[in-house]
Symmetry: C2
Subunit: 395 residues, 2 copies
């Protein structure tokens, strides 16, 4: 039996233009999009290796690190989480997951598959982890690896005290993995100064690059540990010694590891170049100012932020309580249908409880904040009105 060519592929490609103000991806700039239509390059061509070198320097800057083992994983943000855990964990290692939303649980799922003994320390719903929770859990479990998302995009919670957690980890001879996928660029992050052992971030959030290529960096301390492993990391594709060799991290000849997507490299390179031109501090300040403006606006609309404490609110992914009696899905649909603007619902524990409004990269501007506030308000009012009408029609 022959499988015929599908009719759907006879249609033209249809890609609408939207304003992506959910938890990510955010919009790519024209510069980034244009870069990705450049001709492809071979994965060992000098011009491709040159772009990789430039990307590497950009990543060092955004992480504020001098780590040699700074590179990208060829995969989504999740592949950064995999690579961090895969390289550090050996069978039976005790791994502690900090939970301020869904991401610690995801990391726990991965770590268990790698053979770790996984424990969790969970913050109260909508809160960051307290110092007491952290120190108690460290003392109880004495982990070899500790994982925390600096910003958890499901709850909109930020864990502020990474510096202190870095010290705590050293005290317990533990490696610190920080997921900065949703936070980097929206808040301070000083990898070296804070003694972070592995950090990775999303290309498609504040950077405004394409999804599918994930910046990651390993400290010298982590690298030394990985070099001394008794068994190879369980995944060839995530083996940081091999990937780093391809990325020219260790001063050894560059050896082919996989075929990198030059297209995504172009996009990420241009996103990083733009980010660097603006400057890290200015980018962070802008994201914070935009979030503050949004928070004020939310209050003025009579709505409430989900994260109670102002200092625990992630500036990049803002969570807003869905008002009683309002269907979040209808609000999101309204915004998309009428304005092609993405306002997102919750994820995991916050599903149906919150709206998530992303202010990242191109969309972290005063104009976008005012726009999204206006649309959110209009959408909620319209949904409420419709609900009233439906009720009346029932009478």
């Amino acid at each position: 039996m022959e499988v015929p060519p599908p009719l759907v592929l006879k249609r033209h490609l249809y890609v609408p233009s939207k304003t992506l103000m959910g938890p990510g991806p955010s919009n790519c700039s024209h510069r980034v999009l244009e870069a990705m239509s450049n001709p492809v390059l071979g994965h060992m061509h000098p011009e491709c290796l040159q772009i990789m070198d430039e990307v590497k320097e950009g990543i060092k800057y955004i992480f504020q690190t001098l780590n040699d083992a700074t590179m990208c994983i060829s995969g989504a943000g999740h592949s950064g989480m995999e690579a961090a855990l895969c390289n550090l964990i050996q069978d039976g290692d005790v791994v502690l997951m900090g939970i301020t939303g869904v991401w610690g649980h995801r990391a726990g799922d991965m770590a268990r598959r790698y053979g770790a003994e996984v424990h969790y320390v969970e913050a109260s719903f909508g809160r960051a982890l307290s110092w007491e929770e952290l120190t108690f859990a460290f003392e109880a479990h004495r982990p070899q690896v500790f994982f925390i998302a600096q910003g958890d995009s499901s709850t909109g919670v930020i864990q502020q005290n990474i510096r202190e957690i870095g010290e705590l980890c050293r005290k317990y001879d533990c490696f610190l993995v920080v997921d900065t996928v949703a936070s980097l660029g929206g808040t301070e992050f000083l990898m070296d100064e804070w003694k972070v052992d592995v950090a990775y971030t999303g290309s498609q959030k504040t950077l405004g690059g394409p999804a599918g290529i994930t910046p990651i960096s390993f400290s010298k301390r982590a690298l030394t540990h990985i070099r001394k492993r008794k068994t190879k990391p369980k995944v060839y594709y995530f083996d940081i010694l091999l990937i780093g060799q391809y990325w020219g991290c260790y001063g050894t000849p560059r050896i082919y590891h996989h075929t990198i997507s030059s297209t995504l490299l172009y996009g990420l390179r241009e996103a990083l170049a733009h980010f660097c031109a603006l400057g890290l501090k200015a980018v962070v300040r802008r994201h914070q100012e935009c979030s503050k403006r949004l928070q004020l606006g939310i209050e003025e609309l009579g709505l409430e932020m989900f994260v109670q404490r102002e200092e625990e609110r992630l500036p990049t992914v803002n969570t807003i309580k869905v008002p009683f009696g309002v269907d979040w899905k209808k609000v999101a649909e309204y915004a998309m249908r009428k304005y092609s603007v993405e306002i997102s619902g919750g994820l995991g524990p916050t599903v149906e409880h919150v709206f998530r409004i992303g202010l990242m990269g191109e969309n972290a501007t005063v104009e976008r904040v005012d726009m999204v506030l206006s649309i959110l308000n209009e959408a909620i009012q319209s949904i409420k009105l419709k609900a009233v009408k439906t009720e009346r029609s029932k009478i």
Copy 2:
């Protein structure tokens, strides 16, 4: 200490235009490149899911399969190899690797990391596996999984009898994994008819799509086995039950698994659409005709194909013996410097022994064949002449 923004990112992005006639990536068409500068979409947006559905149909066509579990892995071709092995292998499983070049060894490295007991059956250098070698190895090892690259891009060898290997695997109750990264589109491949359990291919070879997104398909038989596993596959990122759920393969609601790169989806979608419009049989015929023409030309130039038996030559990646006394690297450099044409050297066991000329996608045309032959000849003559001059100057 503050890490300053890197100066290299103040320069403009530089991407030269080359004709990629190595083992891949091949050139993307204008249609594919243009598609990738479309605005990004969210990974759960209906338009994105729609494109994924279209891509899925396209993959079913190119693999000639009706498998529900047909999707892409968000990663390079290597991630397809990982996903195939990761989902099938449980600790202690006996896995047999067919070796006709480097790829069976690569798969062996991966499988060992996943806890398999790995055995190899190796063809003579530059040859496909014989039926005797295969049956002897199956009888000796009684594997649970057998891996073979239909085309090995390092040697240019094609394994023709996948259909018979499919029968052999059934006889031994073994799962058959076929790597079609370098072969699909250049030779016949009938996944269902040949009883292949897992197949994956490269997006950046005959398809002429972007690297970084890897089509893969699992048979119902493989899927049933995976559903019955006692332990989860070792890698969340490659868990085909979760990825397939996101790709809408199992008739269940689509659940977020990772952030797919919409950019790469656009490129792959357009590459598949073009491929489907041409038709599988016509594409295969064209690749074979081009390879035949190249082989004739090679003989006419007094050069020799590396693979002795004509029927064991892979049409997509053609390996040509480097003539005695000629430095392959200088030939490749000449072609690149003077014509911006990529002619590649060997890989693994063929390093320094062969040139590899890729005739794939956009570059599988009569015109390109004639061009690359002419350039190859010119380059070799020029290098020889220089060598003679250098010799003379020494006298």
